[in-house]
């Protein structure tokens, strides 16, 4: 039965519909694989075995009753990042602070996946409160890269990428504040999709930075991701930042045709000290697009030089406020050691948060304190507007922008990931997309000499998901999914 878990989500769902497979046996097989591989990869924080089995039974019954005819995800086991609320199931944010937190409500995306008949198989690992790019800050220990367990699966949605690459789930949900879906997808050889800000409801996503966060899928191909995206996107009365729009049928864009598509390549990225393997893979990808009939052009967009600085100010400022509610009063970790209200706050937060979280809270609080607001926060907002305008201008000329997803492949888990210059440059590629609220997808485009996957980033105009889906799908036809040799 293990081969079952190797299929794509859509193939699996078709076989379930055709009665070749039952939801229960699929779920059983998935749980089996998880049990075998978790000791190595540590993708999951919580495996919802009992709930999954019960749900499998119920979904099978519904399918037998003729329901889910139009749902391509019915019976498909999915993993959800552990900063997305699941009613009655622990939602920890990989933090000691919320290690025992069980929400009484579902995130909108959780609700929508259930409505689509997807089977929630467990909650996957992340960097604490999604702050980081390696899962090394997780209270529950790091996840491992299925291509080589000595390496990080990326982050913050590192559990989401490890689980899908290790075939411990067919698809997963991640969240992306500054590359947290795309980078782990690239490190694990997956497709990772960050939608336009305002496409997917954030209700029930435990926020890092409200104006940047967006939930999106990770999968083994673009079609799987698109089916998840279709299920979770669209207007939600519980989140006023979701844009009211006609529900867009993303799967209609799964067309193998980029002829006459206008593709822009920011010059800046070519000038960067790309490692040789990534450069050659990226050049190869450009050639593929050219061969398929796309019109490529290199252009200047220097505004994004400052995106990392602006990103840090804005995301830390918002995080410092978003994480204030964890005060030990109503839920979450409460210190045993206090004699006053001040001590209750200080010790609960001091004990409950890890180093990186505290660092960002302090930075953020500093940058919005009176006197610094203008110097840092407002300046960052002006940079943000300038970046948005620069992208807007670019999309007058191009349908899709291409860049390497990262300046490096997955680093060793043992390497000191604390603030290397290179890591920051790499993040710049990603976070400018969040600052401008654009959709972007990372797709696999090759491997480096160590055998680790390399990602290609496709960036679209606001609500221009269709273009990047079409480009990604066309590219994927030339490069079928390559799986890691797990175990």
């Amino acid at each position: 039965m293990k081969e079952v878990t190797r299929m794509s989500a859509l193939t699996l769902a078709r076989k379930i519909k055709n009665r070749e497979l039952s939801v229960e046996e699929v779920t059983e097989a998935q749980l089996q694989v998880i049990k075998e591989r978790e000791p190595i990869y540590n993708s999951y924080i919580t495996i919802t075995e009992n709930e999954a089995k019960e749900q499998a039974k119920a979904v099978q019954r519904q399918i037998d009753d003729g329901e889910f005819k139009n749902s391509p995800l019915a019976g498909v086991p999915v993993a959800i990042k552990d900063n997305i609320c699941t009613k009655g199931v622990k939602t920890t944010c990989a933090s000691k602070m919320l290690a025992d937190f069980i929400p009484s409500y579902n995130a909108t995306v959780t609700e929508r996946l259930r409505d689509a008949g997807a089977i929630l198989i467990g909650k996957v690992n992340l960097d604490e409160f999604a702050m980081g790019g390696t899962t090394k800050t997780s209270y529950f220990g790091p996840s491992k890269n299925p291509w080589n367990p000595d390496y990080t699966p990326g982050g913050s949605s590192g559990g989401s990428s490890a689980a899908v690459a290790a075939e411990e789930a067919f698809v997963s949900l991640g969240s992306d504040t500054g590359g947290s879906i795309r980078q782990p997808a690239a490190y694990c050889g997956l497709v990772g999709f960050k939608p336009t800000y305002g496409t997917v409801s954030r209700y029930g996503l435990i926020p890092l930075a409200s104006s940047l966060d967006q939930i999106g899928p990770l999968g083994r191909n673009i079609s799987d991701c698109v089916s998840v995206l279709e299920a979770i996107s669209g207007y939600d009365p519980k989140d006023s930042t979701v844009v009211k729009q006609e529900k867009y049928a993303y799967s209609q864009a799964l067309v193998d045709d980029v002829s006459n598509m206008r593709i822009g390549i920011p010059k800046l990225y070519l000038d960067e000290d790309l490692n040789e393997d990534i450069r050659s893979c990226f050049m190869g990808a450009l050639k593929t697009f050219e061969d398929m009939g796309a019109k490529l052009e290199i252009f200047d967009i220097n505004e994004i030089m400052y995106s990392l600085q602006a990103y840090y100010v804005i995301s830390c400022a918002e995080a410092s406020s978003n994480l204030s509610r964890y005060d030990g009063v109503r839920y979450g970790h409460r210190t045993a050691d206090y004699d006053s209200l001040d001590e209750l706050y200080k010790n609960s937060r001091g004990e409950g948060f890890g180093y990186e979280v505290k660092r960002r809270i302090m930075l953020g609080a500093y940058m919005i304190s009176s006197g610094n607001y203008e110097t840092y926060y407002n300046k960052a907002r002006r940079i943000r507007s300038a970046i948005s305008r620069a992208y807007e201008k670019a999309f007058d000329k191009y349908d899709v922008l291409l860049s390497p997803e990262s300046l490096n492949t997955a680093p060793l888990l043992s390497s000191d990931s604390s603030q290397t210059h290179k890591k920051h440059k790499s993040e710049m590629l990603n976070c400018s997309v969040n600052l401008a609220g654009l959709p972007a997808v990372s797709i696999p485009c090759g491997k480096d000499r160590k055998g680790l996957p390399i990602g290609l980033q496709l960036i679209g105009n606001k609500f221009g998901e269709k273009n990047i889906i079409q480009a990604a799908y066309s590219f994927e036809q030339t490069k079928p999914y390559e799986r890691p040799k797990v175990r």
């Binding site: 409500y105 989140d239 006023s240 406020s321 509610r325 005060d327 839920y331 009176s370 607001y373």
Partner: protein, 475 residues
């Protein structure tokens, strides 16, 4: 000797009377069991998001218009960050950078003529929960029922010069807000709370002195005493050559003095920044115009119009318009039965007494213009006498009875049966020969006695003028 004047500006927090909270569907009802009106949103649970209640924006715009403000067409929310157990998100959603209304003016009359107070701004925010300290068990409990109840804060310019003006301004504000149905402005229930900014300066000086802020006043009497007490404290300091410190104080009404809470240096940095979970509110002109058309006629205009339209005195018009409910009742009843003086008398004298005796608010009265106009008609046609009418009126106010039904059921109607009256009158004359002879000798007082006896025998249900006529005839 130097002469000083007091300079006062107010920050008035008003709880809006919406049915549900500002960012969730929870009820705003007062006096429920602790934490009965809560949900993940107003409890600040992780991942919950605020959804703005449109009614709150309606109310804030209406208030802004009533206070002659400019409505900010692209207003936004900000976060005010601070830690306190009654604040579940550890930030209050408020408006700092783009409040919904700015630069208004409110005018009212005082003994010294019209006074006009500038409105600096009006903004929307959410209320916090309440801490309950149990000193026996040494624990503090939190009730989040009030968390997320909508508030507007009305910030005045420092344009007031005395406690009298402050009270008049607050009176005017609360009258306008209740007339609009925006708030019930009940200070004792905390639905109107006042922070006083107060400073003193030498008369003739145009610069503002250092101010102190007195927080959370919740009665007119305490406000009056606090202003008088604090202004005296400041003047005394200046006379002694001292300096006023910029600080926040609390008024202790029992000790009749203000107590220092914190200085400017100790003031918290609230790290205000824009709230990203709520999209900016765009307010098109149509929205503003619509609400402008819906603004009610306010008390001051009503007082003038009532005198003109219904020929009642200014005093009467003032009393009748003290609440919109009474004013509407008066006007609607008078439209149904055109006897405004009778309506006004009943409402002003009896109505006000009933409210006071039963600790009721005007909206608690179960009177309708239809029922009241019936009663007025009955009085007018002489079907019921005034004393009985008052009793019926009270039943109508408290129990909502129909005056005709009630009168019939309890036999309160006036008996106009000539024959029956004559029989009773004859009996009275027979039983009181002394009075009859006294009357015949010219003692008019004796006649009153006879009328009284007859009325008594009729259980007060006879028409007094008819009794008069019959007695005179018989004698």
């Amino acid at each position: 000797m130097k002469r000083y004047e007091t300079v006062i500006g107010l920050e008035v927090h008003v709880e809006l009377s919406t049915d549900s909270k500002i960012f969730c569907d929870c009820s705003t009802r007062f006096g429920e069991k602790p934490n009965a009106n809560t949900c993940p949103i107003c409890m600040g649970m992780p991942g919950a998001l605020p959804i703005l209640n449109k009614k709150v924006v309606d109310y804030a715009i209406s208030t802004g218009l009533a206070l002659n403000c400019t409505i900010v067409k692209n207003c936004m929310f900000d976060r005010k960050n601070y830690f306190y157990p009654d604040l579940p998100k550890a930030y209050q959603i408020s408006q700092l950078y783009f409040p919904i209304a700015r630069q208004g003016r409110v005018t009212f009359n005082t003994r010294d003529g019209n006074k006009s107070i500038g409105i600096h701004e009006l903004h929307i925010e959410e209320d916090a929960g309440k801490l309950l300290h149990d000193s026996d068990k040494k624990v503090t409990l939190v009730d989040y029922n009030r968390s997320g109840v909508p508030l507007i804060e009305i910030v005045s310019e420092p344009d007031m010069r005395s406690a009298d003006e402050v009270v008049a301004y607050l009176d005017k504000l609360s009258s306008m807000l209740s007339y609009m149905g925006v708030s019930d402005c009940k200070m004792q229930e905390g639905s109107m709370r006042v922070d006083i900014n107060i400073s003193v300066r030498e008369l003739g000086d145009t610069r503002l002195g250092s101010r102190t802020e007195i927080k959370n006043m919740n009665s007119f009497k305490a406000i009056r005493r606090a202003i008088e007490g604090e202004s005296k404290r400041q003047i005394d300091i200046l006379i002694d050559g001292g300096q006023i410190l910029d600080e926040t104080r609390r008024w202790d009404d029992d000790k009749n003095k203000s107590i220092r809470m914190r200085s400017k240096e100790e003031a918290q940095d609230y790290r205000y920044f824009p709230e990203q979970d709520i999209a900016p509110i765009e307010i098109p002109n149509e929205w503003i115009h619509k609400l402008h058309r819906l603004l009610p006629e306010f008390r001051d205009e009503k007082i003038i119009r009532f005198q003109k339209d219904y020929g009642i005195s200014e005093y009467d018009a003032r009393v009748l318009t003290s609440s919109k409910e009474i004013a509407d009742l008066f006007e609607d009843t008078s439209k149904l039965y055109n006897l405004p003086r009778e309506v006004s008398n009943l409402l002003m004298v009896e109505g006000m007494r009933i409210l006071k005796d039963n600790y009721l608010d005007p909206e608690d009265l179960r009177l309708t213009p239809e029922s009241l106009s019936k009663l007025i008609g009955m009085i007018d046609r002489g079907e019921i006498n005034r004393t009985k009418a008052k009793a019926v009126f009270e039943e109508m106010c408290l129990k909502g009875v129909d005056p005709e039904d009630y009168m019939k059921r309890y036999g309160l109607e006036i008996i106009n049966d000539d024959k029956k009256l004559r029989l009773v009158a004859l009996k009275v004359l027979e039983d009181n020969p002394q009075s009859v002879s006294d009357y015949k000798k010219g003692k008019t007082k004796a006649f009153g006695n006879l009328v009284g006896q007859t009325m008594k025998a009729m259980n007060g249900k006879a028409d007094p003028s008819l009794v008069n006529t019959i007695l005179k005839e018989l004698i």
